[in-house]
Structure formats: structure tokens, C-alpha cells
Symmetry: D2
Subunit: 178 residues, 4 copies
């Protein structure tokens, strides 16, 4: 999950966040960007391509922290614009009900999700994006996959921390699990 | 709920539908048309204004039957275009999961919903519409209300058959119940 | 999906049902019976073992029609008691919101679900059962599988008509998709 | 929302929690305890009776923080047992999908929910309780109300911080909004 928000002026410093992370669950949002047709059917899923510090390639969902005094909706919009660019035109869901809750534990195996840095609890949403996506920041690229490709072994093994499971849960929710 | 679809060539005749209605639940969709802001917050709810055979005024949601061999998504799109016009640009939800199921019984009082003609079971969805709405067919007009107005006594008493409750359930689902 | 309800006195005759099936979608419920621990975590999924007319073995969810003037809740309870016996103690969900809608088309490939006899639209629920299950009627046996087993290739290939996909959607909904 | 968990040994001290509260959203769970009949229909809602420091009476849902390295399910169970006693036999939902997210802001009016102490984000669930409820700790009593009573003006005006709205959202979700 992205750390880009940690440098936002006025919020937690890196040291303060590190301290809090040892003590309490940190609230996140996960967004699964999708392309839809006129009937709302999901035709493609967008995954960010990232290069880790050790050079490994991974694919990831849009993800990030919710800030103090920030609404979930605003956090979703902020992270989507940060990762997909200002012309992505994301359609934030009308309902705050997430399709699932992803509990990232620092200890692997307690849930399907894992984050070695912290205990993060993420509200997960499927978000149609209608516009032009231009990845920014630490993302190299955004690639659109069909539901079949996204749930397939090639893409799944490039996703870490449980994002592969979360992606398949999203596909199940929209009726597109192969 | 609209009967406009009953005359679609190739489907049930009026007599056949009447016969089936006495024997089995009829599948419907209900759509709550909404206007949203950039963060997906519902700002307005669209209600159809109808004049009954006895001259009474009522306000209604978009509603209608699902046809044989028709997907739920296609039924939603068809009824929204029928009632709101071809330029309404409805954003059909990505997930087939309805926010609730409305069970219209011919006998009042069994559920909050009532339809004297039949036992109808309706899958209910909130649908953002981004375009220009021009009511057609038997609807006189489409009026946009704030959530507060829509849940208020004036509008609620103009809704029949349980549509008032269903509208408030939709507002609850999107976090806008006053 | 079971036809056992078709012989209930007072409802559609076989001939009438056959006629209606050619003309309109038939309303069904699907139930995924599960065992849960004290925290609500699904530990096992119950699948019915059926022997087809041609001797083939298949595994199936609890499934059946909703009758005229019958509530969804009552249909769920009736089919669960019919298939699992009177001591199963199913805990029908508090909310009528299904985890998904399964659209069984007579034509394969339109959706992941298929029923050669009819166009059936099914409201799908996960239902914890706390009691003693004794399959009745045309079911040979009820077998409990872990989520990993249920989503695995051996069980999945014994499920037909899209029940394998629906089962994995249920597992995704409860956070147990492997 | 209850502060009882803050004294749990090994977790945040009061001072540390106070510091964190000024900087980041705190994760909570809200539970609406209900009684159900055999078909899962909600017949009653349980509300805690509390006496504030200034002697005012208020009614509240079961509510509290999620601790570091604690699953949502375990937090729900812990708070329900804390507030309703060890014999309440709560049936924690199978799905982690909450019926809504309640965003309690320290500034009133941004959302329907308000908590002057902090920015709390709460995952809200309806939880059937089958056993004997004996309120403990700071709750004076637990009173069961019908859905009509719970949504009525007398009870609603005794609920603070948006719990009245959240309760009506829960009733809408289970199909029992009057």
C-alpha cells in the first residue's frame, strides 16, 4: 500500500506514524479500478505496475491511508487521482458500504492479507473509471486486464500482500469471477 | 409499477400475464435515480410524477418487469431509458447485488410493499444518472428532490405501494437518511 | 435446482409451470449452508450429493422456487428444511439483501449460470446451520467441505449449472476464498 | 462510544490514545443487537441505557474500538460480551461486509455522526443475540424495542452522536424501517 500520503504537510510525521503503527490499526481504503460497458458489466480491471526497492515487479490495486478529518469518499477520490491522474474521472460509489473489509496483519496467515509494516484495516470498493488514466508517482504503468486474465495465475502471482485475493473478491462481487 | 412492457411484441400477452400473475411471483426491478457529486454523495433523488386513472397524483420510482431471457442489467437499462428518455445516461451498478429486495404482496400488511394486481418480487438498485432526463410514456414529469425533501412527509404521502419506504431504504443505503 | 416443490398442492401444475417457464423468468432462492465458529468465521460448506437420471454424481447447493404469496424468508426456510431435514436449525439472514443474484439462462454462456429448462433468477444467501443435518428427498447425502476443498478442482468439477462459481462467490463474500 | 477497552493492559495508554486521536481516524465497530424469529425477521432491537456524567439518560448501540492485532470479528464479539454479558450468545455475521460505515467526526454536521473526542470510523453490523443479556460495566440496562418503537421519536431523541440515524439505517437494511 502506498506511503505517498505520509508526506502530506500537517498530518502525521513519519516518526509519529511509525509509533502509531505499533499500537493501533491504521485505516485504509482499497479501490479496484474497472472499465464498464453501458450495462455496468465490468469488462476490464486496472492494475498498477510497481517496481520494488529490490527491483521485483508487482501489480497492485489503488490503496492508501485515510487521513484525520477526511471522509472515506474523499480518501478514495484522492488516492485514485494520485495513482491514475487527474483525468481518470472515477465514479465513487453512492453507498459507503464496501464490498469487503481487508484486514492486513503484520503477522502472515491470520487473514489472507498481510502488511509487514502495520495492522491496516481497509475498506474495499470497486470504482468505475471513465476517463484517461495516467499513472503518477511510484507507479510505472497501469494495465487493463480482462476478468479472466486478472484472476489467472500469471497476474495473481505478481500481486502481493493478499491483493490477488482481494481482486478476486471484487470480481466475485461484480459477478465476473471466472 | 409500470405496465408499459406488457405490450412488447413476442412476450406475454395481457391474458397470459394475468394468468401467470395468479400463480407465481413476477420478477421486477426498481431503480432509484439519483444525482451525485464528484465524491459519489447523493445530492438529489428523481421521482416520476404520475396521474392515476382516478386523477390522483402520485410519485414513483422507476420500476418494471424483467422479461424472459433478459438480464437484470438490461431490464434496468430498458426501464430507465423508457421512463427517463434516451439521454439520461444511467450508470448501471457494477454489482448485481441489490441494496434490498422489495416483496410486493397482493395482500396488504405482509410486507411494507403492496401491489393489488400481483405478487411481485423486485430487485432494488440506486442508479446515478448523469444526463438529461425527459420523462416519456405515462409519466408527466420527473422532479428532483433533496434527500431531506424525499424522506419528508409531503413526498412520502404521495408515494404508494411501499415506494416511500423503499426510497427511504435507498437513502439509508447511501448514507443520506435524514 | 430441485423440482420437489412443484407437487405442492394448490400451486402450479407441472403443465402450467412448463408453460410459464417458456415465457417469463422464474424466481428462485439459492442457499449455501455453512458451519461457523463463535466469531462467525465459516469453517465448512455443506454440499448436497445428488445422482442424476443418467447416474452421474453431482454436488449442489440448496435451491428451489419461490411460490406464489410466499416470502423469500419462508422459501429459504422451506427449502433448507426440505433438503437438510427438520433439525438443521438454519439461521436465516436478518437482511433480505442477497450476496448476489444468479441468473440461470436456458442458453449457456450469457451468464456463468445455466439451466436448460428455464430462465431462473435466484437470490443467493449464505445460511449458517447449527443443528443436525439429515438430507431427505432426492439428495443422497450432505458432505461438509473446508473452504479450500470446496473451491478446489475436485469439488468444483462435480458442480453443474454454475453452482461452482456461485459457491466461490459465497466464499469470497464471507472472506474465505482461497 | 465506550472507552472501557482503553484500560486493557498492553494496549494504548490513555495519554497515547489521546495523542493518536488528534492525528488519525480511530477504527471502531458498532453492533445493533437484535432478536429474530425462525425466519430471520428482526422482531426487537436491543439498546443500552446509559447515564452520562451530567446525569442525562441516553440509549446507545454496542460500540467500541478495534485493538492492535485484533480481527474485526473478535472486536465485535469482545464488545458484545462486554456490554451484554457472557450468556448473550451473539451470532457474529459470516461476512465482514458491514451494512454501512459510520464516520464520526469531531466537527458536527460533516456526516450524520458526531464524536467530540475524535475522528472515529466505525464498521456497523446487525448481530442477532439468542441468549440471556445481562448488561455490565457502565450500562444500566438493556431494553428491547420493536422496530416501530426504536425508530419512533421517543427513542430517537434519547440517542446521541448519530446513533439514532445508524439504528434506522440498520432497520432499513433488515427491511424493518417503519
Amino acid at each position: 500500500m502506498s506511503e505517498a500520503t505520509d508526506t502530506t504537510p500537517g498530518w502525521l510525521s513519519r516518526e509519529e506514524l511509525d509509533a502509531a503503527r505499533d499500537r493501533m490499526p491504521i485505516l485504509y481504503v482499497d479501490a479496484v479500478p474497472v472499465r464498464v460497458d453501458d450495462t455496468g458489466t465490468v469488462t476490464h480491471v486496472g492494475l498498477l505496475l510497481r517496481v520494488g526497492e529490490d527491483g521485483t515487479i508487482s501489480r497492485a490495486l489503488v490503496s492508501g491511508r485515510v487521513l484525520y478529518h477526511e471522509r472515506i469518499r474523499d480518501a478514495l477520490l484522492r488516492h485514485l487521482e494520485k495513482d491514475l491522474g487527474p483525468m481518470a474521472l472515477p465514479r465513487i460509489p453512492t453507498s459507503p458500504q464496501p464490498f469487503t473489509i481487508a484486514e492486513y496483519f503484520p503477522t502472515p496467515g491470520i487473514t489472507p492479507y498481510h502488511d509487514p509494516r502495520q495492522h491496516a484495516v481497509s475498506l474495499a470498493y470497486v470504482v468505475p473509471v471513465a476517463g484517461d488514466c495516467r499513472p503518477r508517482q511510484d507507479a510505472l504503468d497501469l494495465v487493463w486486464f480482462t476478468p479472466e486474465e486478472a484472476a489467472g495465475p500469471d497476474v495473481q502471482q505478481e500481486m502481493t500482500g493478499g491483493h490477488g485475493v482481494l481482486l478476486r473478491q471484487a470480481l466475485a462481487h461484480v459477478g465476473r469471477l471466472p
